[in-house]
Amino acid sequence: MNALRWIGLAVIALAPSDRVQSSALVFVSNELSHDVSVVSVARNAVIATIPVGGRARGIHVSPDGRRVYVAVSDDKPQLAGSADAIAVVDVASRKVVATYRIGSDPEQFGVTPDGKRLYASNEDGGTATAVDARTGKRLATLVVGIEPEGVAVSPDGRWVYVTSETSNSVSIIDARANKVVANLLVDLRPRAVAFSPNGARAFVTAEVGGTVTAIDTRTHAILMTIPIDRGEGKPVGVVVSPNGKRVYVASGRTSTLSVVAAASNQVLATVPVGKRPWGVAITRDGRYVYTANGLSNDLSVLDTSTNRVVATIRVGQRPWGVAAG
């Protein structure tokens, strides 16, 4: 794999210094078909499919848009298997150019804004791992809650939030010191976390609690718990719009996308999407929101100006995550 990694680095080194044209692309991880669908925003169509060699779940685009990181595992959770890794996809060549070992059964992770580090949750270990994004070398292993899941890095790279499903907690890592500095109790079964673009707020979804918790990132204090669908929603994926005004929440088991006003913490709309939306992403210009719908094998495209689904795109089998370049 070292050779591949060097080839990958070479490809990146030879790429033009301006941003690779990934801003118009959306990447979808597919659990069952073991691949990544590349979707053109302009055409609302899959333009390429990249095999990643295992069950693809967490997915992120690097800050420079040149790489896509995908958490890949085998189909048997809780067992360390040969497929367990973060796969690094080169956007230009649409090939896996490196794989990083980050412990068993990787699912969710975050990328620092400088693109230098990845933070991943290790579900079975009750830990989070910091990894050098260039070399794949482990930098730190930190004790977080029980059954850690969602991971997000603050826009300034200072904080890493990790949600833990069994302990109903959020662990806050100081990324400068690689140390857990606070643990917060949130609502039941916290699944995912997203920061506002200015970094002032973090939003944590609680699937069984049916809520989203808003956290003040300066004081690490809980500001408010927002019921989704009167507390009967099943929020999973979450993303904040680039202007910070809207929070989009995918409710897996109710097959809906909730639109929350960040200022008032009110739910403005609940929009039916495909079946079992899990991951959610928004384009950099904030015009479109995408949900990866695990049971209908498609991607719903929401126009944020009308809060209506304007397209449904067939992707791979059991789409899990989605990331906008």
Partner: protein
């Protein structure tokens, strides 16, 4: 080459937790750090075996719950201890709660003894409706489903004769059941049965209550468990809560096919999920004795 992560991961995690310097909690539960959650388990002989939990599975479920409580304590402060007790030493044992199982009479005597001592009793096995009816106690919390809930589940699933209803099954996968089942198997090299789940979830309810109530005092824990809006997660996908009228834990129940030519498997979950406009609690109350028909008059 595959290998179970079980022992290695467990030991690694234990070492990490032991080494973890208590974080500079900005929100640590101040004053809580020294508090010990003391869970009593009846041991008639006075020895340290946890006899009245009934089965080995229940004991292992409790042990996994205690492991996880210890992990949580590393993050939030506090500690947990399982305390062997006798019926006569309950009051002197400074318990946060008593856990117990056994037959109907065994559960009744535990329920009565805990009521006399003024501490919470979590019933993790007895399904008897009478314990939740005319014999109910304000200090008794029924984590195990009732006979009425099991009967309703079988009826709602339209189950064939021979099928049985259960609180948990090792083959469950949805809503995080797969990770819990795998965690139990990795730790003990055996399947997580209903007894094991009930032991685990009872301990989870207690440590979570103590973190949220910021107390290990039995009265404070009971107050938290009965407070309107208090909910728990047991990896069943729906929020669990105690019914105010008989302190039965609301929860989904699974229907397993009878052993026959094919191996038994989960064929249904009851009740069906909440319909539009219905709350989770309302939908879960379609199993078991409703308030209007309850014979429980909550006197301690």
């Amino acid at each position: 080459m595959r290998h179970p992560i079980s022992r290695r991961t467990f030991l690694r995690r234990a070492a990490l937790i032991a080494a973890a310097v208590p974080p500079a909690h900005l929100h640590a539960l101040s004053g809580h750090a020294a508090a010990e959650l003391r869970i009593g388990v009846l041991s008639p002989s006075g020895a340290s075996d946890t006899g009245t939990l009934g089965t080995l599975d229940a004991r292992l479920g409790v042990r996994l719950g205690v492991d996880e409580a210890t992990h949580a304590a590393a993050l939030f402060g506090g500690s947990i201890e399982v305390v062997p007790v006798t019926l006569t030493s309950l009051r002197a044992s400074r318990l946060s709660a008593l856990l117990g199982a056994g037959d109907r009479d065994g559960c009744r005597s535990l329920s009565d003894a805990a009521a006399a001592a003024g501490i919470a009793f979590l019933n993790v096995r007895c399904a008897d409706d009478g314990l939740r009816g005319s014999e109910c106690r304000a200090t008794t919390f029924h984590v195990a489903p009732s006979d009425a809930m099991y009967r309703d589940a079988l009826a709602q699933a339209g189950a064939q004769a021979g099928a049985r209803a259960t609180a948990w099954d090792a083959s469950l996968t949805r809503f995080g059941a797969d990770t819990l089942n795998a965690r139990f198997r990795a730790r003990f090299n055996r399947a997580m049965t209903a007894d094991a789940w009930l032991g685990w979830v009872a301990v989870k309810i207690l440590w979570e209550s103590s973190l949220r109530a910021k107390s290990t005092d039995s009265r404070m824990l009971m107050q938290y468990m009965t407070r309107p809006g208090t909910q728990f997660d047991g990896h069943k996908g729906r929020a669990l809560s105690f019914r105010p009228w008989d302190q039965q834990l609301r929860q989904p129940v699974y229907v397993v096919s009878a052993a026959g030519s094919a191996p038994p498997r989960v064929i249904a979950e009851a009740p069906v999920p909440a319909s539009a406009g219905e709350t989770t609690s309302e939908s879960l109350d379609r199993l078991g004795t409703p308030a209007a028909r309850s014979a429980c008059r909550m006197s301690p």
